[in-house]
């Protein structure tokens, strides 16, 4: 674990760049992480996915699967992959300041 400055805020990151403490997160951090991962600007649709991931994680202690992301976030699977081409669940979790999703689905 390392402490890094993102958007002028010190945050603790794991080896893959996921925040280890979701309470350190804010929207400017989200935008900076998104830029680092090839998403220049977070649209409303991106935010819808990121917020859904984050709220689910904070409520249940686990991030939703790609299946429930596609069914329940309001953004269908095809669009999820257009928004986050390098992996929607993983990237939305990273941008949303929650740990990497652990499931296989």
């Amino acid at each position: 674990m390392t402490t890094t400055m993102i958007a002028d805020t010190p945050v603790d990151l794991d080896a893959e760049g996921f925040l280890t403490d979701p309470s350190e997160w804010n929207e400017r951090i989200a935008e900076a992480i998104a830029r680092d991962n090839g998403i220049d600007r977070l649209t409303d649709r991106h935010w819808q996915v990121v917020r859904f991931m984050r709220e689910r994680y904070l409520a249940n202690g686990t991030a939703p699967s790609i299946r429930s992301l596609g069914k329940e976030s309001g953004v269908p699977v095809k669009e999820l992959y257009q928004l986050f081409p390098r992996g929607p669940a993983k990237l939305a979790a990273k941008i949303g300041g929650i740990p990497k999703p652990q499931g296989c689905i």
Binding site: G70, V77, G87, I105
Partner: protein, 169 residues
């Protein structure tokens, strides 16, 4: 005394490559034969890895309109069941085992085959049917679900798989 033949790696080599592309062959028509390939394809896409699926022999059942909702667990000739063969052959036993496995899958959020096929296709994986098997069974594109891209030969499969890893299940 055990002899260490090679030095254990001290650290990962700096030029360690990541997998960018996989081509997965699904050749079996049982539930436990179809799921691993679908899980691996979906998992690849979730990591941003390109994925192609090639269905051959009884694996074609997973993309046949008339069969893909009725894929069953093989309860005979499957040592993994840990049951005497005659028990697996009892009427209704495969249906029971299939129901149980589907319930367990649902519990860990793994979708039923038709929904899973849609999920992997929507995630950007391409689905292909093996021409040799299609010809052998006398099938056409009409027999397959709409997510299937094309019927292709083995040669075409290798062309599509070029530059990636091939996984046979």
């Amino acid at each position: 005394m055990a002899t260490q033949l090679t030095e254990p790696p001290q650290s990962e080599p700096a030029d360690r490559k990541t997998i960018e592309k996989v081509a997965i062959v699904i050749s079996k028509g049982s539930l436990e034969g179809v799921y691993p390939g679908l899980i691996m394809a979906n998992g690849a896409r979730m990591e941003g890895i390109e994925a192609d699926l090639f269905f051959t022999f009884f694996g074609l059942d997973a993309i046949r309109k008339d069969r893909y909702a009725n894929i069953k667990v093989a309860t005979v000739g499957n040592p993994g069941m840990h049951l005497p063969t005659w028990v697996g052959a009892l009427p209704g036993f495969s249906a029971l085992a299939t129901r149980m496995m589907k319930r367990q899958m649902e519990n860990i959020d793994i979708p039923p085959i038709p929904e899973f096929i849609e999920l992997v296709a929507d995630s950007g994986a391409h689905l292909y049917a093996c021409k040799a098997t299609v010809d052998m069974f006398g099938l056409t594109m009409q027999d397959f679900v709409k997510q299937v891209d094309e019927i292709i030969t083995v040669g075409e499969f290798y062309e599509k798989a070029a530059g990636g890893e091939i996984i046979f299940t």
